[in-house]
């Protein structure tokens, strides 16, 4: 691979590039799924190619190809330089990168069991067993299961002398029971919605999730939702389970702290951000107990945003994003860091694959758990009146990331510190900063989970990438609940 990298870098330099990077990616994926007793997906895929990013005439250019012959790579590098020169036709300033030392490194995400070494029959047997368990519950009209594995190997070379080889193993699995009755379709998912739980782990993740053990209870909840009362409208104290809080973090913290959004670089598609540069170290983003970090280091755990180096060769870091409620940091890359005069990149430039330009992405954006011991049951016991919401059903937020609305699969009314009746169709909405400032309690480390969001979309052409979010259940005071169903009135 080093030879292929040198073909790319040498050609780019020969054609006039002042900076060049080559990423060669060899990716393998397995996707398995069932739907009500039938195979929904059974496929293996592989993809190999190279992406070359250059600066020439003071502008960026990028080209990618799956032709890894010498001629194919050299043509691709030449094209990247030609494209950069075309970019220079419309520029307002020279493109600079924040300084970074070259790195020579090898790294692999830790795993115990190679998921591609586990017999396929074992995987399918498990999915069909879960599928059958859900459909044993009367009233379940559709059962969905899925299991996904990925091996992603990347070689990164730069004209500054970096040579970094990284290998990632990712596993994920989950299921959902749907129930149609009367004029309603209800759904419950485990361990999370939209594909379940994903981490940079091997097959041991599938074993840890104890998928089959929960299938019957999840299916029963899906059916029971039909006879539950609808979640009321009004202002309520809301406890978010850690799965829902992880998405709340993703949407109302993770995206607005992306510096490329702040600088207007995503304005046409993903949008911009309310976190303009004047807000750094001045905005009270949340209450005093809100502490959020962007942590890509291995010590944070096997999140989908864990790596040793990002896709422009910057070492993984832990950046404080919200510190005791104060907004303290952005997600940055070498070009965006340079644009605001920062000393170095925060190491957040990532690409979906070999054929995509790396852009600023979330790593693991996690809220830190409370320091005093507090379980979910203790948090409920300390709540006079409120609603506990679990597992996301829909999410929406404006293009500056102020106004959001989330719906969950199930809610539970809390009265006098006790979990009472089940509530269907729970939803809540608000303004990001007002919401985070209303947080008055968060559970401790025992309740903290590192969730994986495998489907975060951004960029043009759009790139889908995995991000990690650690969260513990937390309570928010005076939250607007139930506006979602005004649309049916």
């Amino acid at each position: 691979m080093k030879e292929i990298g040198s073909w790319a870098l040498d050609t780019a330099k020969l054609r006039g590039a002042t900076h060049a990077e080559a990423r060669i990616v060899d990716e393998r994926k397995r996707a398995l799924a069932t739907r009500s007793g039938h195979i929904g997906s059974a496929s293996d895929s592989e993809s190999l190619g190279i992406g070359i990013r250059v600066i020439a005439d003071g502008s960026f250019g990028f080209a990618a190809t799956d032709d890894l012959t010498r001629k194919g790579v050299q043509n691709c590098a030449s094209q990247a330089v030609q494209i950069a020169r075309a970019s220079a036709r419309v520029k307002s300033a020279e493109q600079f990168l924040a300084p970074e030392q070259p790195h020579i490194a090898e790294w692999a995400s830790p795993y115990r069991i190679d998921p591609f070494g586990v017999p396929l029959e074992k995987n399918l047997d498990l999915l069909f067993a879960i599928d059958a368990e859900m459909r044993r519950v009367k009233g379940v009209t559709l059962a969905e299961t899925s299991m996904n594995f990925r091996r992603y190997e990347q070689w990164f070379f730069s004209s500054e002398g970096s040579a970094i080889h990284q290998t990632f193993i990712t596993s994920g699995a989950g299921y959902a029971a749907h129930s149609f009755a009367g004029a309603e379709i209800q759904k419950r998912s485990y361990p999370n919605s939209y594909g379940g739980q994903y981490q940079n782990k091997g097959y041991e993740l599938i074993e840890e999730l104890q998928l089959l053990d929960h299938a019957g209870a999840i299916a029963e909840q899906a059916v029971a939702l039909h006879s539950a009362d609808r979640c009321p409208q009004g202002k309520f104290n809301v406890i978010l389970a850690s799965d829902q809080l992880s998405l709340q973090i993703h949407e109302s913290v993770g995206h607005p702290i992306e510096l490329d959004r702040v600088l207007g670089m995503e304005a046409n598609f993903a949008g911009t951000s309310f976190l303009t540069l004047d807000k750094l170290r001045t905005l009270k983003y949340g209450s005093d107990i809100v502490n959020i970090v962007a942590d890509a280091t291995e010590s944070h755990g096997p999140g989908l945003g864990t790596f040793a180096y990002d896709d422009e060769g910057v070492a993984a870091q832990c950046t404080p994003i919200i510190t005791n409620g104060l907004f303290t940091g952005y997600l940055t890359s070498r070009d965006t860091a340079a644009a605001i005069g920062a000393a170095c990149s925060g190491g957040c430039l990532r690409a979906e694959g070999w054929n995509r330009l790396p852009i600023v992405r979330m790593t693991n954006i996690s809220i830190l758990p409370g320091e005093s011991p507090l379980s979910l049951e203790q948090l409920i016991a300390s709540t006079d009146h409120g609603i506990l919401m679990e597992t996301n059903r829909s999410w929406s937020i404006d293009d500056k990331r102020y106004n959001f609305q989330f719906s969950c699969e199930v809610g539970w009314e809390i009265v006098n510190g006790q979990r009472r009746r089940m509530l269907k169709n729970p939803s809540y909405s608000g303004i990001s900063t007002e919401f985070w400032n209303s947080m008055d309690a968060i559970c401790s480390r025992d309740e903290w989970k590192l969730w994986g969001t495998p489907n975060c979309g951004k960029g043009q052409p759009q790139q889908v990438i995995g991000t990690g979010h650690g969260a513990a259940p937390a309570r928010f005071r005076g939250v607007a609940v139930g506006a979602a169903y005004k649309g049916s009135e």
Binding site: S45, G49, A64, I83, G264, N268, Y402, N403
Partner: protein, 472 residues
Amino acid sequence: MLTRDQASAIFAKLRKYSSADEVELLISSGRSALTRFANNTIHQNVSEESHALSLRVSIDVGSAQGGRTARASTNKLDDDSLRRLAQTAETLVRLQQPDPELLAMPTPREVVEGEVDGGGTVQRHVQRTARIDAPDRAEAVARIVDVANRNELASAGIYATSEFAEGLFNSGGVAKWHEQTSAEVSVTMIGDTSSGWQKANAPDVATLNPAKMAEIAAEKARKSANPRELEPGKYSVILEPSAVLDIVGSMFWDFSGSALLEQRSFLNDRLGTHLFGDNITVEDDVYHPLQTGTPFDGEGMTRQRLKLIDKGVVQDLAYSRRAAMKMRRSELAEKVGRVGPTGHGFMLPNEMGEAPLNIVFAGAPSGSSQTVEQMIASTERGILVTRLWYIREVDPYEKILTGMTRDGTFLVENGKAQCGVRNLRFNQSLVNMLRNVEALGEAVRASGEESIDMVVPPMRVREFTFTETTKF
């Protein structure tokens, strides 16, 4: 980009390397490029050349215990990789559980039976689009930036072009091939307190006018500056075509036989009812001159035209071959009208079955069509919406959707767009919305970010529900 002959030769090799009973190859090949700009500067500029081979093999189809099928994919074209692709697919298929409902791959005769006038072919490859290069795109972006500078605005957006081919070959003799080009421009103009937007997409680059789009987006940004905050509530809304596309797009996934059979469709127990207003008629028509895409489905079946909604009544559903077979055997068969493969199936195996993807709304009947300007002129009080954003389903059966307005939202009073308003969150039942359409315009090809491109008219809708406002 691979030629049909090259693709056919690859398939011949894969047939030779595979010992499975049936073999099907989906092949795509092409190149794409995208120039991205923001803050009046090209900041990202990319190109890609790639291929994808996706091989499906089946065994034991029609046997007593049931057949098996599985898929393997690669982007490597050398002989060793092709051999490995065939081996991977065969390893996977032998480990599958038998499926008594698995169908044999279609024959040429079965495909011909589904062909519509014109033999199911369309011409969507335009040389002048394929020839566009990075300097051409930069030149067009420069014209957009000129408009931004003249208006003291910041521009952001893309100019993208692509050329690709898709083919399907199976061991029963089906061979399909489609080539297409695409050009796309999207422009956002940004002021201190407002923004405006336009987007368009077509196979022929000559039909796009980036500078004109920039002027329209700039005018929207200028006119919506210093927006007022409106109280949430029910308003008459005038939805420009992109906004209509944004909000109706997700609905059509439910117009499928599989969705009905799995009871995940909002059409459960509603087929044949007068669900929408009399003025709502919708077809799926890949052959429409303003549509794009391949005229065959994931098994090579020829796409048929469907009348999904006829004057408010749900009529046709899309079917894959498998969904059609299952529907004929189900108790729903009596209620769903015409049942048969319609050429809308996804590649097998899959989780969603099939869906109509070439939506064409009928515009207003002759004589009653209104332009957006005429709709504004006849509105006492309402809101004009350029586009909608981040739309998600709140309730799958009532089809309540939530989302935000974006990039050009105006208060209409006394027949005029008076001023910009802060963006609003809606929570709106699509079923109710399509009962409340008061006026329709001419159907045009529209592009957005929330749905695939469609042919849709602008609409004025009464009692559209906004539940919150945001801060800008």
